[in-house]
Symmetry: C2
Subunit: 246 residues, 2 copies
């Protein structure tokens, strides 16, 4: 899709649902998202530019090099952010969950591709309006900076994993961290939903699908996890955390 109109805002007419009736005040993820930087009496600035967009599962949200004409937060669902190589190799940079934020890229183009794993709802801020709002509110820029600094720490932690950890350590790390992130949203400790495929997990951790599958089976055999239809139960968190530890 080299189509210059394939970027997010331009494609939302293709999306399953679109609405302007965003209500920031009632938003479930406002407090954990970038939007927490807005005071209650300033929410109008946010709300007036916000657009809600929904995607079905397995839809392209944007591709690398697409024009980036909006920033957005994820309000529901899961998506993957990834880069593909010419020969088909793929690195999944991260899985985005409710509360996660995608900023306008520095040069106005997306560095990575993104597509929905499950049904996804995004809260979308058109680039120009967003920039104007930020410019008038240094504390929002401050929040944006802190969010990006946190992302940087996450990326570097991921670097440790990719560079130094074994297959079992990688998967333990992945499960522990995804479990923590999910428990912030739905508070089910020890039950980890895995909406993404084995291939996604493999490409996230620099492994193959077979190694992921074998390692999961090994964990299950040792009673560390139980494999369920849509995820895993963490039966022995201690052991997993020990494997994942630095």
């Amino acid at each position: 899709m080299k189509d210059p109109f394939s970027s997010m805002l331009n494609t939302w007419q293709h999306c399953s649902h679109r609405s302007n009736g965003t209500n920031c005040e009632r938003c479930k993820i406002r407090q954990i998202s970038i939007c927490a930087a807005f005071e209650p009496d300033d929410l109008d600035a946010l709300q007036s530019m916000a657009q809600t967009i929904s995607f079905a599962a397995k839809e392209t949200i944007f591709l690398e090099n697409d024009d980036s004409d909006a920033a957005f937060t994820v309000t529901e669902g899961a998506l993957r952010l990834y880069r593909t190589f010419a020969d088909g190799r793929r690195q999944v940079i991260s899985f985005l969950l409710p509360g996660d934020f995608i900023s306008v890229e520095a040069d106005g183009r997306h560095e990575y591709s993104a597509d929905s794993i499950t049904e996804v709802t995004l809260c979308c801020f058109p680039k120009k309006q967003f920039a104007a709002v930020v410019k008038q509110r240094p504390h929002v820029l401050q929040r944006l900076y802190e969010t990006t600094a946190r992302e940087l720490i996450n990326a570097r932690e991921h670097m440790l994993t990719l560079g130094q950890r074994s297959a079992a350590e990688k998967l333990a790390w992945f499960l522990v961290h995804l479990g923590i992130r999910q428990s912030c949203i739905d508070f089910e400790p020890n039950i980890v939903e895995l909406p993404m495929s084995r291939q996604d997990i493999a490409d996230h951790l620099g492994l193959t699908i077979e190694t992921v599958s074998r390692t999961f089976s090994g964990f299950a055999r040792e009673g560390i996890i139980a494999i369920t239809p849509h995820g895993v139960d963490l039966l022995n968190c201690k052991k997993l955390e020990k494997l994942a530890a630095t």
Copy 2:
């Protein structure tokens, strides 16, 4: 060194050289560093808080979990930023060169350790004064944000390398990128200085020292590079870039 006084500002009295006579106007790396955000007529704000610190080669600059009481830019030399595991594994996050910036960490503690590879000179901004200066200048915060966003892109590019590339591809990528960075400073295309050890390179790329050495030898045998006493000459950049490509 669990000593709470081991953090940078507190240790600078141990350093080989320290001086307040910073001259921002003549600073070679000002234009490529965070300091470019300061207008010429606002340089006093920067200069009045800046402290120059020098380190000999192979000195500890800070350790992970040390209090972070200053931000700094590198003005001369090379250092490594890294995290070590309990069992001795080490991931070198990045090599810092003139113009690179280390910010105050979010929680006031360093996430990583840093030490000098060569003799190093830093330009140091005490945390509190730096925060105050930034607070009054949204355009500096903007620059800080952009710098961090650029770091995030670099970290993610490194993730691709660690997760997807082979040993030869990793080393090609490393040489090409280090060559580009160095040519911004000293403008010697095709001559790459390698002040860091093979072990540092190995820990940067998720390889072993032997694999780094063998791969370099292989490149030399194929006429792609020539190994020199303190670095390598890039004889066939095309080939290297092809290997490093996505």
